[in-house]
């Protein structure tokens, strides 16, 4: 192997790390926002209010029917129109990711909440706990254990999906690698390194998900 020069990675490392930081930042914010909004959507969807429930279902199914790259693109143009002022690409992409991930996390929460048998709700109600107390103290702690592996898997997918921000010229890890590869004409070295980074990070996520699901298999 004569032509390969991995020194390019070392020289471009600060630049690549900047991109990686954006990828991590987007993953974290989208996950946090998506989980909170997703929980709300799931609770509304499972509630007795038919009209609200249908709206929530429409939201979830709508977002899940559209590719993320399209959502990112649209929000880049739509958010400034909706707010009546210009927003940065980063702001628009954060909103797009949170709203998009909320649809997926909502489905994970819905399955998690439904995995708790009705007797648990009844037992909590019978003791005088209210709906939100039961949700917070009895149902969610159990549901979260069932859901955590899926939530991590979703986060891994999300981390990979942050590469899509290239469509509005934001520089995540993948885009940074791409720039370096083309600028220094070291495509093989850079893309090998990029693949390795994704592989390591996502493998850690996947491994922790399967470890958790093994440990918390219901008794």
């Amino acid at each position: 192997m004569t032509g390969l020069d991995f020194g390019v990675i070392q020289r471009a490392l600060p630049f690549l790390l900047e991109g990686l930081a954006l990828s991590f930042f987007l993953t974290a914010v989208a996950m946090l926002g998506g989980v909170i909004l997703g929980l709300g959507l799931a609770v509304i969807r499972l509630s007795r209010w038919k009209a609200l429930s249908i709206l929530a279902a429409g939201y979830v199914n709508g977002f899940r029917a559209i590719p993320l790259v399209l959502v990112i693109f649209w929000f880049y143009f739509l958010v400034p129109l909706a707010l009546g002022r210009s927003v940065s690409a980063l702001q628009s992409v954060v909103i797009a990711f949170v709203l998009f991930e909320a649809a997926y996390y909502s489905e994970i929460f819905r399955a998690g909440l439904q995995s708790i048998r009705p007797g648990q709700w009844q037992a909590a109600y019978a003791c005088g706990l209210g709906y939100f107390q039961t949700l917070r103290l009895v149902v969610l702690p159990q549901a979260l254990r069932n859901m955590l592996p899926l939530m991590i898997t979703q986060a891994v997918v999300l981390f990979q999906d942050t590469s899509l921000v290239y469509v509005i010229s934001l520089r995540d890890f993948m885009t940074s690698a791409s720039i370096v590869a083309n600028r220094d004409n070291r495509l093989i070295e850079t893309y090998l390194f990029a693949a390795l980074v994704y592989f390591v990070i996502c493998s850690i996520g996947a491994a922790s998900a399967s470890r958790l699901s093994a440990r918390w298999r219901p008794a």
Binding site: G119, Q122, A126, C127
Partner: protein
């Protein structure tokens, strides 16, 4: 006049001088019955599960509800604390109208204990935490106070050394006794038991029934859905027989076992007692 009315007309001193009977039943002292159910109807779609049930349970009374499976027993007692809604009829517990939008069901439920067929302990909490949860979050007791209450009740149900265990580490009989302690921790005015021993292995039924029997002797108002006729004989004041969503027979315990009137009750008894 009923025994209750005679008792109510006595002065406290006279009551004290009364000969101590084997079982002290503080039957409604001029107050409303604990549970009043009248003309209760409920359907699941086209299937009518309750067809005009009437039942009055006095304070301190122990009523056993029996009958074939699918006869509506569980639905009826779940209506009592509002876990099931009913379509028509009236139901009042401790003077509070159940099913009325104006009634505070949450605070009513906090005063009625319930024990389920499948225990329904919270699997993510220890025994002690199970018993303290509603005490702290509903009755607003301090953690120290709740834990002291929990420990006293665990001793009472014979599980003083299990406070740190998780439900999955306990046998079915132990779990059900913890569930009883959890309900008692709320200082309920009445207790509902929905087939409390049906999910238990035979060798564990006795330990749960013993706790329930002691509770009955202490004067707790109890409605118990069960097939345990031995328990009914020992603890019940009255036995209610249900079939196909209707209350077919209500009789004093002795009368029910010695001379049941309804044909279906006779058939049920002969089947269950011959087992």
């Amino acid at each position: 006049m009923t025994k209750a009315h005679i008792q109510a007309s006595r002065t406290p001193a006279e009551i004290v001088e009364m000969p101590a009977s084997a079982r002290v039943v503080p039957i409604s002292q001029g107050r409303k019955p604990m549970v009043e159910i009248s003309k209760l109807y409920k359907s699941y779609g086209p299937i009518e599960v309750l067809k005009g049930c009437d039942l009055v349970v006095e304070r301190g009374e122990v009523v056993v509800i029996c009958g074939p499976s699918g006869s509506g027993k569980s639905t009826l007692i779940k209506c009592v604390n509002g876990l099931e809604r009913f379509d028509r009829g009236a139901l009042a517990v401790d003077g509070v109208a159940v099913g009325d939008r104006a009634s505070d069901m949450t605070s009513l439920r906090a005063r009625i204990g319930m024990v389920f067929q499948h225990f329904e302990l919270y699997p993510h909490l220890t025994v002690l935490q199970n018993i303290c949860l509603a005490q702290v979050h509903v009755l607003k007791r301090s953690k120290v106070e709740a834990q002291a209450k929990a420990r006293a009740l665990l001793a009472r149900v014979g599980l003083p050394d299990k406070e740190g265990a998780y439900p999955a580490q306990l046998s079915g009989g132990q779990q059900q006794r913890v569930a009883i302690a959890r309900a008692l921790a709320m200082d309920p005015v009445a207790m509902l038991f929905d087939e409390p021993t049906s999910a238990l292995d035979p060798e564990m039924i006795g330990e749960v029934l013993a706790v329930m029997l002691e509770l009955a002797r202490d004067g707790m108002t109890m409605i118990v859905v069960t097939h345990e006729m031995g328990f009914a004989r020992k603890a019940a004041d009255r036995v209610v027989f249900m079939d196909k969503g209707a209350i077919v027979e209500t009789a004093s315990t002795q009368q029910f076992f010695d001379e049941p009137r309804a044909e279906r009750a006779k058939l049920f008894l002969s089947r269950i007692l011959s087992q």
